[in-house]
């Protein structure tokens, strides 16, 4: 009788332990696969640690910047000559830009249109750290809710789109790069051709070839290598006209029903130090 009771008790403990273990594992899976938002307490911890990190890395940054500065000094004269040539054209571009802006303003007024897909406000941020997990390509930047950063904001650098904000704390935010293999969201893109624009969906990133895949492009569309890919502005997140990359290959899908395009970004994803966040003005 005593032995049976002891066995029952042991079985109960095993069942309860398995149950608790399953709940914990389920919770972890849910936390990792969804974009979890930090609680106020967690945000405070994250901000404090990253502030300490920023203070410690300040002298390192200073030394690295000095070294880079010295290296760049050697190329300065060549760059000066190039810029001198470009400056000659700038006045022409400036005038053209002003004229176009004025024209756009008048057209908006005429159509009673408050905002377009191209309207956005921008502000800059410094990269604080990079993902430690080899698989999820993310960066942490030094701008957070305090500076007006909200989840979903697109992040760009001079050479194109790099990703979007997936999590924010008071003074820092996390940006998931478009090179992340686990990107679930698709981006609506347009490809410049001789006859106008062709539309497609930027769906995934191929880690081996270091190219993005664009799907949903009709077989009848003639697309050349080197064509420029930009965002369409459709959807809530990305404004129109942000450069993403260039087409490097065209093939058909498995069933020969549509074109699949390979696109290479001009951004050097291995050395991103400063980013610009865009806020849609809709």
């Amino acid at each position: 009788m005593y032995k049976k009771h002891k066995k029952d008790k042991r079985n109960k403990i095993i069942i309860i332990s398995i149950f608790i273990f399953c709940i914990i594992v389920g919770f972890i899976i849910n936390v990792v696969i969804t974009n979890r938002q930090l609680t106020i307490f967690e945000k405070a911890i994250k901000d404090s640690v990253l502030t300490v990190q920023k203070i410690i890395s300040y002298p390192i940054d200073l030394v690295i910047n000095k070294i880079t500065e010295n290296k760049e000094k050697d190329k300065m004269y060549d760059e000066y000559l190039n810029l001198k040539q470009e400056i000659a054209n700038i006045n022409h571009y400036k005038l053209e830009n002003e004229e176009l802006k004025e024209e756009l303003k008048e057209m908006k007024k005429l159509l009673e249109l408050n905002n377009t897909l191209h309207d956005y406000i921008q502000f800059n941020a410094v990269v604080v750290n990079r993902n430690l997990n080899y698989w999820n390509d993310t960066i942490t930047i030094d701008k957070g809710e305090h500076d007006g950063v909200v989840i979903g904001m697109p992040a760009v650098v001079g050479t194109g789109l790099i990703g979007k904000v997936i999590s924010t704390s008071t003074f820092n935010s996390t940006v998931r790069l478009i090179t992340a293999t686990d990107v679930v969201e698709k981006i609506s893109v347009k490809i410049q051709t001789e006859d106008g624009y062709v539309y497609g969906i930027l769906s995934k990133y191929d880690n081996e070839t270091k190219t993005h895949i664009i799907e949903g492009v009709s077989l009848t569309d003639k697309i050349k290598n080197g064509s420029i890919v930009t965002t369409t502005g459709m959807g809530d997140i990305f404004p129109a006209g942000i450069m993403i990359g260039e087409i490097t290959g065209v093939r058909t899908d498995t069933f020969d029903l549509s074109n699949v395009l390979e696109m290479k970004s001009k951004v050097d994803f291995d050395s991103i130090n400063y980013v610009t966040l865009l806020k849609r003005n809709l």
């Binding site: 936390v31 979890r36 640690v49 990190q53 390192i60 430690l132 997990n133 698989w135 050395s271």
Partner: protein
């Protein structure tokens, strides 16, 4: 000693990730290395060691991953590996290098398998191997440096550590 080594490694992980990301062979996982180095300083107080691992794991989750209980559990499992190898072998530089290698292989393997199962990654053995060897070299170098520094410091200040 324990707090200094682990906090330094924790902060360095974040700082160096920014500078060394572009290099294929030097991805830092210093916090994991610090878990191995600090183990002898707990003098067989396993409960304290595991409580410490839980705190570091939770911080690692919040600061670098925006997750909860993920690294917390992985760090506990690494703690078991560290304890087991230290139980079999005496604690010296070579043992620490061995534990660092095993822990990094385990950490990368566990995270990759998790991603393959729950985040629909395609399983590619080459990516897994690349992730492992890219982390090994730098972390072993860090392990050697930090082991020698702590060894000299503990001898100088007569800090007791289990062998």
């Amino acid at each position: 000693m324990i707090v200094i080594v682990s906090s330094l490694s924790f902060i360095l992980d974040g700082i160096l990730s920014r500078y060394l990301y572009s290099s294929t062979f030097f991805l830092p996982l210093f916090t994991i290395v610090s878990l191995i180095i600090i183990y002898p300083y707990f003098n067989n107080h396993y409960d304290k060691y595991f409580r410490y691992l839980m705190i570091i794991g939770s911080l690692y989750d919040i600061v670098y991953f925006n997750t909860l209980f993920y690294n917390f559990f992985l760090f506990i499992l690494i703690g078991f590996i560290v304890g087991f190898i230290n139980y079999l072998l005496s604690n010296n530089l070579y043992t620490n290098i061995l534990i660092t290698s095993v822990s990094i292989v385990f950490y990368r393997f566990a995270t990759y398998i998790f991603m393959v199962i729950f985040k629909n990654f395609n399983f590619d053995i080459n990516i897994l191997i690349k992730s492992i060897y890219s982390s090994l070299i730098l972390n072993i170098i860090y392990c050697i440096i930090i082991y020698l520094i702590t060894e000299i410091y503990s001898k100088k200040h007569k800090i007791v550590r289990s062998k």
